[in-house]
């Protein structure tokens, strides 16, 4: 019976098990580093600044009309001030995960790139 038990796992099995575990651990370690949400600020459609949601900061973007101020605070992001006449993007408030706010007149777009889902069904 003991010989039976020993035969269940062969050397190559241990190797594959170790490699698989290493892959899982490496991937989770990699994920842990990059899991935080990102904020992507675009000017004229081109990436202007990319920032972390975790770090409170104010990003100033100089568009054609003036300066748009993007505020990141407590893991949330919004457009705090903008020279656009209708103030649509400012009134949008905090941008939910996966969504974006666009100040069209000033050519500024802010995307909250954290994973967001409209629906999940299975």
């Amino acid at each position: 019976m003991t010989a039976c038990r020993a035969g269940l796992l062969r050397p190559g099995d241990w190797l594959i098990l170790a490699l698989g575990l290493a892959l899982v651990v490496a991937l989770s370690a990699h994920q842990a580093g990059s899991q935080e949400g990102r904020v992507i600020v675009r000017l004229d459609g081109k990436p202007h600044t990319e920032a972390s949601l975790r770090l409170n900061r104010v990003i100033e973007v100089a568009g054609p009309l003036g300066i748009s101020r993007v505020e990141i605070r407590d893991g949330r992001v919004r457009i705090a001030a903008d020279p656009s006449p209708l103030q649509l993007c400012v009134r949008q408030g905090w941008i939910p995960p996966g969504a974006a706010a666009v100040c069209l007149p000033n050519r500024v777009a802010v995307e909250n790139a954290a994973a967001g889902y409209d629906t999940l069904s299975y």
């Binding site: 269940l8 796992l9 062969r10 099995d13 594959i16 698989g20 892959l23 991937l27 299975y122």
Partner: protein, 179 residues
């Protein structure tokens, strides 16, 4: 009109495929009843049958058993031709191909556990790829990869040990006697 009789002769091999596929379908249905916290993570107990069949009767029979299990299991669960079925099919085909390649590895070094683990990783990997490319493009499933691969590691090890144990405890002569 001459009465005609259509007789379908089932060979011994057909019966064996049917019995083994029935065992695999039974396991599929049984594990569908187990509540699991995360969609997509399940033990995949039917793969034990596939592994045992692959070792005992070769890849053709393993392909038959796996194919029948996927189609009949989906029919029984009401998932036939749904995305869940297509995912199951993609995972089944991909892992079967890997198993067929891996069974050629030297048996002295690599046993059912290695094959089971490779199949489990391929299964979930190909499914995530199908979801990422086709079902939910852009839904960045990369973040879920460690979770799914971790689960696949555990289930692959468990199923592999079960298959290894079955292969040792069932003498090669017995047919159709699976879990």
């Amino acid at each position: 009109m001459t009465p005609s009789v259509i007789e379908l002769r089932a060979s011994g091999e057909d019966r064996r495929v049917a019995a083994l596929a029935a065992a695999a379908i039974g396991l599929t249905l049984a594990e569908a009843a187990i509540p699991l916290p995360i969609p997509g993570v399940k033990p995949g107990l039917a793969n034990i049958v596939t592994l045992v069949v692959l070792y005992r009767y070769g890849w053709r029979m393993a392909a038959w058993v796996a194919g029948l299990r996927i189609v009949a299991g989906a029919l029984a669960l009401g998932q036939f031709l749904t995305p869940a079925f297509l995912l199951s099919l993609a995972g089944g085909v991909a892992s079967l191909l890997v198993l067929i390649a891996a069974i050629r590895l030297p048996a002295r070094w690599f046993g059912p556990v290695a094959l089971s683990l490779l199949a489990a990783f391929t299964h979930i990997g190909s499914q995530l790829m199908v979801v990422d490319v086709w079902l939910m493009p852009g839904a960045s499933l990369i973040a879920l990869l460690p979770l799914f691969l971790g689960a696949a590691w555990i289930t692959g090890l468990g199923n592999g040990l079960a298959a290894a144990h079955l292969l040792q405890s069932l003498p090669p002569g017995t047919s159709g006697k699976t879990p």
